[in-house]
């Protein structure tokens, strides 16, 4: 099956070069010149694409806004962000807006293609998992938190996280996690009960340099709390350790 990729890039030369290369790889592509057009295609016209390559500096709505609006509208297309801004703050801002991967310009063609392949692969895996739902034994096996592997399902306090499909079922609802959210949650769960520092999260989970503004992490925690906590202002599972970082508890304290 031919994969369809939407390229959102206002620089005509780059758009043409990307299109040529992606088509040479056997993908079908379409170019949108600005964010409004991309949002219109994806949200209004409900056009089917397998991947979105999104530039940040666009006329009108910028890439961050486009990504955020897509995610807000519950559109979970794999999203690769491309930008000339390579500062750690910008990278984090991109992920916060809902990007799945981030590449700064100028990029290496082969790396771009590899990242696109890996994002598409993940989409295929999660589709395969939806059609062949994980069997009960897989859930049972994954109960021990230290051996949490990439596609495992983890259950705690009546909630279930499936790291293969990036789905989180809690309080009778199913949430789709972005890759960044899932990675953060996995790291916290793998270290259940232990304190994980903000610096550790930046370096080990997201591979970012430590001089990044660590408050960006807080926004992710706020979002995760909305998913799993009954009352996000009184967290039971995702606890803040003041001045250091965070701690994940499978069972609320005092209930042991």
């Amino acid at each position: 099956m031919t994969r369809q990729i939407l390229i959102v890039e206002d620089e005509e030369h780059l758009a043409r070069g990307l299109k040529f290369n992606l088509e040479a790889e056997g993908y079908k592509t379409q170019v949108a010149g600005d964010g409004e057009m991309a949002l219109d295609l994806l949200l209004q016209k409900r056009a089917e694409y397998d991947l979105l390559v999104l530039d940040v500096m666009l006329p009108g709505k910028d890439g961050f806004t486009v990504a955020a609006e897509l995610r807000k509208a519950n559109h979970f297309i794999p999203l690769l962000m491309l930008t000339a801004r390579g500062h750690p703050e910008d990278v984090l801002k991109g992920f916060e807006a809902g990007a799945d991967d981030y590449l700064s310009k100028p990029f290496d063609l082969n790396i771009l293609l590899a990242r696109i392949r890996s994002l598409l692969r993940r989409r295929e895996w999660s589709r395969a998992l939806v059609t062949n739902p994980p069997n009960a034994s897989r859930v049972a096996e994954s109960k021990s938190a230290d051996s949490l592997r990439e596609f495992d399902v983890y259950s705690f306090a009546g909630k279930q996280v499936d790291f293969g499909t990036l789905e989180l079922s809690a309080n009778g609802r199913v949430f789709r996690l972005t890759l960044m959210e899932a990675e953060l949650l996995r790291h916290l769960i793998s270290n259940s009960g232990k304190i994980v520092s903000r610096k550790q999260i930046l370096e080990e989970v997201w591979g970012l340099h430590e001089d990044t503004d660590t408050r960006a992490i807080d926004n992710f925690i706020v979002r995760l709390r909305k998913y799993i906590e009954g009352d996000p202002s009184q967290p039971q599972h995702l606890l803040t350790v003041r001045g250091i970082g965070y701690r994940f508890l499978p069972k609320p304290e005092g209930q042991k």
């Binding site: 780059l14 070069g17 000339a84 310009k105 100028p106 063609l109």
Partner: protein, 302 residues
């Protein structure tokens, strides 16, 4: 995030300045009250406190200005980074494509053309930055010669048309009905071309897709030549008209933030025009009502 922290810095500096000035004022008044009988210490004291208060106010003003300037410099760096990285990214992408893939002959030629255009764009950005640095050097020499403004303006218009892929009626131009007459200026051809291309680029950039730009060369009297470039673009709010000539300054209105720019264009325009003994003006009825830029130069007399 950065902008809000700047605003906080400014608010803090202003508050501190006002507080210190107020304390100095209170001290001054107490001095007057305590020493009102003795004339010499009274006068000396009032002068002394006056100096302190003036100093505090000046200091605050400079501090706030410095913070603002930093902010503009930041946005300039961002813009230039983008302007430099985009063509480099494109050239690299095409080179890697040519290196790794089988590309047909026609396609290959097209790629070469794209890369050439990118190098021109890169060169344009580099020249703009270098020119902005050069025009502030007082002793940099102008390579002056006698220039007929008619053909110079015509060339600039043609260049802008091709560069922005505009239809021929997008830029109308008028030579004050005196096509035969030579309207000459003593100036540096390259620098004056840069002035015209900057003004025309702005007119195109800040106009809607169907731009209507009018270029006029006028001779109001025997001593002056005026080049007027009028567009139907997004215009400039009244309060910003004076600032647009400042280095790195960019008007922040909803329409203008979508346009990419370094904040150097009009700075270069005014600096070069002044070095030629002329002046640059900008007029606009307000947001959405178009802009007129006027370049006035002394006319060269034989």
């Amino acid at each position: 995030m950065r902008i809000t922290s700047r605003k906080k810095t400014i608010a803090f500096a202003v508050t501190l300045g006002v507080l210190v000035a107020a304390v100095a004022l209170v001290l001054n008044i107490s001095w007057i009250v305590l020493n009102w009988r003795e004339v010499v210490p009274l006068i000396l004291g009032v002068i002394f406190f006056g100096f302190i208060i003036a100093g505090v106010i000046l200091n605050t003003i400079f501090l706030v200005r410095e913070v603002r300037r930093n902010e503009q410099q930041d946005s300039f760096l961002n813009a230039v980074t983008h302007e430099l990285k985009t063509p480099i990214t494109s050239i690299r992408l095409y080179l890697e494509t040519l290196q790794q893939r089988e590309v047909g002959e026609a396609q290959r030629r097209e790629f070469y053309q794209v890369m050439l255009e990118d190098t021109h764009r890169l060169m344009g950005t580099v020249e703009q930055v270098l020119r902005a640095a050069r025009v502030v050097q007082k002793n940099a020499a102008l390579n002056k010669s006698e220039i007929d403004m008619g053909p110079l303006v015509q060339d600039a218009v043609e260049l802008a048309r091709t560069r922005h892929h505009l239809p021929s009626d997008a830029i109308a131009w008028d030579l004050d009905g005196k096509t035969a007459e030579r309207i000459c200026v003593a100036g540096d051809r390259e620098e004056l071309s840069a002035v015209l291309s900057n003004v025309l680029d702005n007119a195109v950039k800040y106009s809607p897709k169907d731009a209507h730009i009018r270029v006029e060369v006028i001779t109001p009297d025997l001593k002056r030549v005026q080049i007027k470039v009028q567009d139907n673009g997004i215009g400039i709010p009244g309060g910003e008209l004076k600032r647009v000539f400042k280095r790195f300054y960019r008007v922040l209105t909803p329409g203008s933030t979508q346009v990419k720019g370094s904040g150097l264009g009009l700075f270069i325009v005014r600096a070069i025009t002044r070095r030629h003994g002329g002046e640059a003006y900008v007029e606009s009825e307000g947001t959405g009502k178009g802009t007129t830029v006027t370049i006035e130069l002394p006319r060269y007399q034989q």
